[in-house]
Each structure stands twice: as C-alpha cells, then as structure tokens.
C-alpha cells in the first residue's frame, strides 16, 4: 500500500524528470484510476486511451501539483475524470460504440457487485464518516449525485435515467452538492 505521503514524494520526483519514480507512481495508481475512467467511458480500450493521455499529462504537469490543496490521489482522480468526461463527450464514443470489453476486465467488473454508483457513493460517505450528515438527502438526490460523479452523466441524462423533469434533476444535483460541502466542512475534512 502506497501512502499519500509516498505518492506526494513520487510526484515531486516525477516533476524533476525521474522516470523510475514515474513508473512507481504508475504502478501504485493505475488500477484505481482505470476503475474511475472505465466507469465513465464504459470500454476497456477507451479507458486505457484516457489513462494514457492522463499519465502523459501527469509526466508533464507533475510540477503543478500542490500538496496544500489536494491529496495526490484526489489530484490524479480529477485529472483522469476530466479527460474521461471530455473524451466521452467529444463524440469519440459514437465512433467506438461497438468497442467491446475484453473478458478479463469483464470478469473483474462482474465480481464487483457493489460498484454501482449509489453503492460507490455510500462507501465514500462511510469512509469519510459523513454518512449520517448526508442522511437528510433523499434517495433520488443521492442517486443523481452518484450518477453525475461516477458515470459522468449530465443533467439531461440524469433526468432521463431517473425519469424526472430536467429542472428536478438539476435541483437534486445542486442539493447534493450543497449538502456534501456542508458535511465535509462540519467533519473538518474540508482540506487535506
């Protein structure tokens, strides 16, 4: 298990052009980041394309990581999520609509029955110890937040999945974000 401090040290060395540190950073984070990208773009080949772009970006941009703002993993997750969201929406998804998943990755995903967005959200809230603070959100508000975060869906897509008017879906997301900020502040985990 690589700690946050280890990752921060690796990132600092990557910023100086240390290739060995870069490979260690890759080995320590690629599985997790692959999981993040795969849930958004939905195909292994494509998620790997996103990750390749992301790691190339990390090699060039490691110097811009600021340890006072975010943990290394948080920073990396944001890099990957942004790339995955942009890639998904740039229309490459349509071109690759028939790219299929290889059997190995399929097996891995199938073995994780708790990987649906709502469950991922619940697990995160538990690990951050803000489950009870977030309890005032309705199931739909939580689901809207989870679909946006883990699947990269936009308001209109959330509305479609949850069978709600667009304005309602937007309000659910807003309320979810308001509450999340409030709960993180109350728990004293606003910054790292």
């Amino acid at each position: 298990m690589t700690t946050s401090a280890d990752l921060a040290a690796l990132l600092a060395r990557v910023a100086l052009g240390d290739r060995a540190a870069f490979e260690r950073l890759y080995r320590a984070t690629c599985g997790h980041l692959m999981g993040v990208a795969l849930r958004i773009v939905g195909s292994t080949a494509w998620a790997e394309e996103v990750l390749q772009d992301a790691y190339v970006g990390v090699w060039h941009g490691a110097g811009s990581y600021d340890a006072s703002v975010a943990t290394p993993m948080t920073w990396l997750i944001n890099v990957v999520r942004n790339k995955a969201i942009d890639a998904w929406r740039s229309g490459r998804s349509q071109r690759n609509a028939t790219v299929a998943l290889d059997d190995d990755a399929h097996a891995v995903m199938a073995e994780a029955p708790d990987s649906e967005p709502q469950q991922l959200l619940e697990r995160s809230l538990q690990s951050l110890s803000i489950t009870s603070c977030m309890a005032s959100l309705t199931p739909m508000q939580r689901q809207a937040l989870a679909l946006a975060y883990y699947r990269g869906l936009v308001h209109s897509e959330i509305a479609e999945v949850l069978g709600a008017p667009l304005g309602t879906a937007k309000a659910w997301v807003r309320r979810g974000l308001d509450k999340l900020k409030e709960c993180l502040l109350a728990a004293g985990i606003e910054s790292c």
Binding site: E23, L38, E48, T71, L120, S124, Y149, L180, L184
Partner: protein, 233 residues
C-alpha cells in the same frame, strides 16, 4: 465579465462534477486559467469531490498501457524482445535484426487489434415487433456499455403528451424494469441505469407500452411491441 464568488463557486462545482458541459465548460476552464478566484474555486471543489473517487474499486489495465505511455513519452519500449533473449534465439546481427523487426511491427499489431475490436458486434440485441408481427424496434448494446442504441424500423404512433416506455422482462417472470423512453421514429441512445451486462443479465424479452406520463415504475398499459432480447457473445 465580473462574476460573484457565489457564481464562481457554482460553476466550479458543476465543472468538477462534470455536469457543466459544452461551451460553458470550455469557458470556465479558460476562466480558471486567467482568474485566481476561479482557479481557487476549482481547486476547492476538486479537493472535495476528489474524495468521492478514492474508494472506487480498482480495475487492472493491460500491460500494453504502460508500454504505450512509455512509448509516447520516451520512444519505443525495449520490452518486447525479452522473451527471445530468454529463449536463447539468435544473437549478434540476426538478433538485432529480429528485435528491430519486432519493434517496428508492434504498433501495427496493436493498431490492427484496435480496428478488430471496433468492428466487434453488439453483445445484446433485441428485436421488437408490433401486434401484426412486423419488426419495429431494433435495440443493441455492447456488453459493458452504458447505452442502448435504439432504431425504429417503422414509426410508432405515440399520442401527443404520452410516452413509449421500453421495459426489460426478466426470465423468472419477475416485475418488468423500466429501461428508458423510445422515440416515435428515427434513432435514440438510451442511457442505462447500469452496465448492459447487469441490466440485461437475466432478461430474455423486451417490450414497449404507451403510457400517459413518464416515470411509472410498472407498465400500466398493454404492450404494443415485444420481442426477444438475446446475448450474442
């Protein structure tokens, strides 16, 4: 344009969450590069929402990914020749020639693999027919995809103000589950509540009913279209 801190905060959070899209998304990214207040809001929300991603289960990527990263940043990787070295094949000039050949071939093989994968067929396919038995809706999804492509082979009459709901009917005779809304003609991409292999795991039939309002949990009206849903591979 002068923005209030509250507006910046709201744009930043929707940007990080991903719900800010299109031109607004690009404009905010530009703004964050130019205005410290926007950059600060972005960082704060990045730190908050990034926490939600930390517990997501890992999925191991293929070894080709690291080779691809190395190749893009540092040139061709040296690894593909290793098994030849272990196997004791060729050395000197012959070995160097073979190794060079392997390096030159690798990207092509990978390119070919990508093309082959792109041409793979959908994994789940459904064909729904009307009461007269005429094929009307073709639905397909890749195994792990989050979308169901729907194509109308002939128009369906949907009265104004009503919706055509697509239902997945489980093998075990359990309650139908709402998949999404089908247009009266043309094509649509329905967003699935989960991956196709989860949504259609134990589903052998699909059906469409015309409902007076969206959002119902169960079909309240008879099916106007129905047909088999099969897993091709």
């Amino acid at each position: 344009m002068k923005m209030t801190p509250e507006l910046l905060d709201h744009l930043a959070r929707e940007y990080v969450l991903g719900t800010l899209q299109g031109g607004a998304r690009r404009r905010f990214a530009t703004l964050a590069r130019q205005q410290p207040a926007a950059a600060q809001a972005l960082q704060a929300w990045g730190a908050r929402l990034g926490r939600l991603g930390e517990t997501a289960p890992a999925v191991q990527p293929s070894p080709q990914l690291w080779r691809g990263v190395e190749q893009r940043l540092f040139g061709a990787p040296a690894k593909p020749v290793r098994w030849w070295q272990r196997a004791g094949f060729g050395f000197g000039g012959a070995f160097a020639g073979a190794a060079l050949c392997a390096l030159l071939l690798l990207p092509r093989i990978e390119q070919q693999k990508m093309i082959d994968e792109e041409s793979l067929p959908a994994s789940y396919v459904g064909l729904l027919s009307d009461a007269a038995g005429k094929p009307t809706v073709l639905a397909s999804a890749t195994r792990q995809g989050h979308r169901l492509a729907v194509k109308l082979l002939q128009p369906v009459a949907i009265p104004s103000g009503q919706v055509a709901q697509l239902w997945a009917l489980p093998d075990d005779g359990g309650a139908p589950r709402l998949v999404g809304y089908v247009p009266g003609s043309g094509k649509a991409q329905l967003i699935l509540a989960g991956r196709a292999d989860a949504v259609f795991a134990k589903v052998s039939r699909l059906a469409v009913s015309i409902e007076p309002a969206p959002g119902g949990d169960a079909p309240a009206h008879p099916y106007v279209l129905s047909g088999a849903c099969v897993k091709l591979w």
